[in-house]
């Protein structure tokens, strides 16, 4: 996403620059000519060097054919990409629909339905060139009219898309030709292309959006073949897909709903499925010892913060918030809750995999200082808190229990109240002042920070409002220079870490377990499941 600093980023980009010096020159020339953002750079890069060939040259020649069965915890309930938020649905829709721009497993943008994207000088107008000759699964052509219709739908308050809050700055979308659209923004937004890679920003066919929930029509490499809710979802390759040479090597992808972890592991090790994209760390010993199974791990932006409502006592007192942050032994939580498969975090939500990661120092636990702060805040005799959580998402309950154990050392008595997952979301989440939440990463740091922690954030869990923080975010949006933007966002992360309303103890890693025959697959830092360039060997 930017050319700067980040080791994560440099992996993908540097490799390409070293191997293709001529393209690099071409790129640099375009940058200097147009003053382009890093996003456009990435686009050009991907253009000059189709990604599919890259995968092939690394891992051997892709083989066409075969069926991959994926063991997933549940099944997609429906396929309306503007509504569904559960991972099982997202994992299917990733292959059925296309974004304009995608985020690949190296956290780089690559063209999907849009080939290029360019801002004007002030970054409040973005022009996208669309791929020509793309077909929807029903045979109709994909054109700029579909882009306009999709965004009109997403921006319509009657649609239930939560992505609307991420693109609230979009004033209008204009189809300037069948293969060109222009987005007019109300304010400058340097990371607008990244925003377009959101999992709900799938391009939909104009005038045919009513039945997508059960009859999805996308432009993706796979079309829905059959779906038995709660059992299996079968995707078959779409024969008119635009990039059959570089993607969609598998004939078929099947998603099998296997809720029980032990059953799922048995299915993987006995060859009943080729892939379990999310293996619990506690199952790792089984998978690692199994012949013919390979595991891969990636750090993600997923985190399970302990959330404090700052409009209510005692969390309205910054000293209490700081004290509660100081009781947390982050390494200990990573060890107990994640069995070591994660990274400690510093009470802010931008993960190390994000190019805009500010590297805020991880606080060490300091029970003495925590006691002092609590005493200053008037809780010298101890503090009683009730923390709500659920065992319904792995890690949330464990985090609460471990926090309780750690807080006891500073004289804070935490009562952990656990609820079944359905009751938790309905009755306690955002309705109590102190609870554990659960978030997956977003394509950009700005998106994650602004969605939850600005004064008017639609997703706010905490009622935290800090004008300095808001100002930093607004400035970052308007800053096209990646380095300057990184500085601003780092300040925002530091501010959230120091004064913010959340304890973010860790970022989770996700582990995939796959048959050694499965090639060209890697776990995605945004928890997506991307099999577009995977194939089966032998």
């Amino acid at each position: 996403m930017t050319l700067l600093h980040e080791h994560e980023f440099s992996h993908g980009k540097l490799r390409y620059i070293v191997e293709h010096p001529s393209t690099r020159r071409a790129l640099l020339r375009r940058v200097s000519l147009l003053g382009l953002s890093a996003s456009a750079l990435a686009a050009a890069g991907a253009l000059a060097w189709p990604y599919g060939q890259a995968a092939a040259s690394q891992d051997g020649q892709p083989v066409r054919g075969g069926v991959v069965r994926v063991g997933v915890p549940g099944s997609a309930a429906s396929f309306d990409p503007t509504v569904e938020t559960i991972m099982e649905a997202i994992w299917v829709m990733e292959h059925v629909y296309s974004n304009l721009i995608r985020m690949n497993t190296n956290m780089e943008l690559e063209p999907d339905l849009a080939l290029t994207w360019e801002p004007n000088e002030t970054a409040d107008q973005w022009t996208l060139t669309l791929r020509d000759g793309v077909k929807f699964h029903d045979g109709s052509d994909f054109t700029s009219e579909d882009v306009v219709a999709t965004f009109e739908h997403l921006l319509d308050p009657a649609s239930a898309s939560q992505y609307r809050s991420n693109i609230s700055m979009v004033e209008s979308v204009e189809a300037t030709s069948p293969t060109e659209v222009v987005f007019h923004l109300s304010s400058p937004f340097a990371e607008f292309p990244e925003t377009l890679s959101h999992y709900q920003a799938k391009m939909l066919p104009a005038g045919k959006m009513a039945d997508l929930a059960t009859n999805p029509i996308g432009t993706g490499p796979y079309r829905l073949d059959s779906h038995v809710p709660g059992e299996r979802t079968v995707l078959k390759r779409f024969d008119d897909f635009y990039d059959l040479d570089g993607q969609a090597f598998l004939d078929e992808i099947q998603y099998l709903a296997i809720p029980e972890e032990a059953t799922k592991m048995a299915a993987l090790t006995s060859g009943s499925v080729e892939l379990v994209n999310e293996v619990q760390p506690t199952s790792l010993p089984i998978v690692q010892n199994a012949p013919g199974i390979v595991t891969a791990e990636t750090i993600t932006g997923s985190h399970q913060p302990i959330v404090m409502d700052v409009s209510q006592a005692p969390f309205d007192d910054p000293r209490v918030r700081e004290a509660l942050k100081l009781v947390v032994d982050r390494q200990g939580l990573v060890a107990v809750v994640l069995q070591g498969h994660g990274e400690p975090a510093a009470d802010q939500v931008v993960p190390p995999s994000d190019p805009m990661y500010g590297n805020v120092a991880i606080p060490d636990p300091d029970l003495e200082r925590a006691r002092e702060l609590l005493a200053e805040a008037g809780y010298a005799d101890g503090l009683d808190l009730v923390l709500h959580t659920t065992p319904g998402r792995a890690g949330m309950l464990e985090t609460a229990l471990t926090f309780k154990d750690m807080a006891a050392g500073a004289g804070v008595n935490v009562e952990v109240v656990s609820h079944p997952v359905d009751a938790f979301w309905a009755e306690f989440w955002k309705k109590t002042p102190f609870f554990v939440s659960n978030w997956i990463g977003r394509p950009t740091a700005e998106m994650m920070l602004s969605q939850l922690y600005m004064c008017d954030s639609s997703g706010s869990e905490t009622r935290w409002c800090n004008p300095d923080f808001d100002a930093l975010i607004m400035d970052a949006r308007a800053t096209l220079d990646p380095e300057a933007r990184h500085d601003l966002l780092t300040q925002a992360q530091q501010l959230l870490s120091d004064d913010g309303p959340v304890i973010v103890p860790y970022f989770r890693s996700y582990i995939s377990g796959a048959s050694s025959r499965l090639q060209g697959f890697a776990p995605h830092p945004l928890r997506f499941l991307d099999l577009r360039r995977a194939w089966l060997d032998g």
Binding site: V83, A158, S161, V228, T263, K264, A266, D422, S458
Partner: protein, 314 residues
């Protein structure tokens, strides 16, 4: 008999009506609604409101019930709020799966249970009786989820000869599909075996004590003939009703077994429906379970009345 039958059917319809009202009221009382469950942590006030409008949840509950009832009277059980698809085919598919599993479990379990019960009854207090009694006691006492998990460990992990999941492939080879059903079916057999076996055992013991069996023995009739002609027909009569009732029980009691083996049956669908607050789906599954239960009871009573000349209905 006919009057008895029609009376029972009328009561059944009434029961189902009561059930539908109770279930609808209960689901209204449940915390949260399907919109909250769909959006989870991504929910905001305006997206929730939009989704509720799309799903028709903004209308008052009694109006929704009356609509549902009008549809149900015509055989239209509405659309699942969570899956956005017709409830009818969804439920029937799961019913088929549950019946297949229950069918296999019965096919293994019934002859086994009857055989064990007869052996135990005829050899009362001898070692074989003790072994059978203790085994069936274990079967009745160990929770289904423990038996199921142990079977998975033994036959899918340690000695991998059977698949751990029970994902039936609709296009797959039926014989291969049966393989997937073995572990869950065996778990069910374990749990249901005990009741039928113990029932049969005590009937056999009771019949063996009757005057006519004693008379036959005193008359010098061979033991084998006594058993075949006098003991079994009388002793198995109650077992028949037990088996009929087991069908009704199995459909509902499958919940745990279906959860352990990821088996897509009615029980799992019910849990999905409840946790997602999918009211039309909860209604349909609950009514179906109640209907099966009532039919099994009715079947048992009718079968019993037909087979037992001593009972007559006014």
């Amino acid at each position: 008999m006919l009057r008895f039958f029609t009376r029972r059917l009328a009561f059944m319809a009434l029961t189902l009506f009561i059930v539908s009202i109770v279930i609808f009221s209960v689901t209204e009382l449940l915390p949260g609604d399907v919109a909250v469950m769909i959006l989870g942590s991504e929910a905001t006030d305006d997206t929730l409101a939009a989704l509720r409008t799309q799903l028709g949840l903004d209308r008052p509950a009694p109006a929704r019930y009356v609509d549902w009832l009008a549809g149900a009277a015509h055989g239209d059980f509405g659309e699942s709020l969570r899956m956005r698809t017709d409830v009818g085919p969804l439920v029937l598919e799961r019913l088929k799966n549950s019946l297949a599993l229950a069918g296999i479990a019965l096919a293994i379990g019934v002859p086994l249970a009857l055989g064990l019960g007869i052996i135990a009854g005829l050899r009362k207090d001898r070692p074989s009786d003790k072994v059978i009694t203790v085994t069936t006691l274990l079967g009745i006492s160990i929770p289904e989820f423990v038996i199921g998990s142990v079977l998975i460990m033994l036959f899918a992990s340690i000695w991998p000869i059977l698949p751990a999941t029970s994902m039936i492939d609709p296009q797959g080879n039926p014989l291969e599909n049966v393989r997937y059903l073995i572990l869950p079916a065996v778990t069910l057999v374990f749990v249901t075996l005990a009741h039928t076996a113990r029932m049969t055992r005590s009937s056999v013991i009771r019949v063996m004590r009757t005057d006519y069996v004693r008379t036959a023995t005193l008359k010098g009739m061979p033991r084998g003939r006594i058993i075949m002609r006098h003991v079994l027909p009388n002793a198995l009569l109650p077992s028949i009703t037990v088996i009929a009732l087991n069908i009704g029980w199995m459909i509902g009691g499958l919940i745990v077994v279906e959860t352990v083996f990821a088996y897509p049956g009615l029980g799992q669908l019910m849990i999905f429906a409840v946790t997602n607050r999918d009211v039309p789906l909860v209604q349909a599954v609950a009514l179906l379970v109640a209907l099966i239960y009532a039919l099994a009871n009715l079947g048992a009573d009718v079968l019993y009345a037909v087979l037992n000349p001593r009972i007559r209905y006014s």
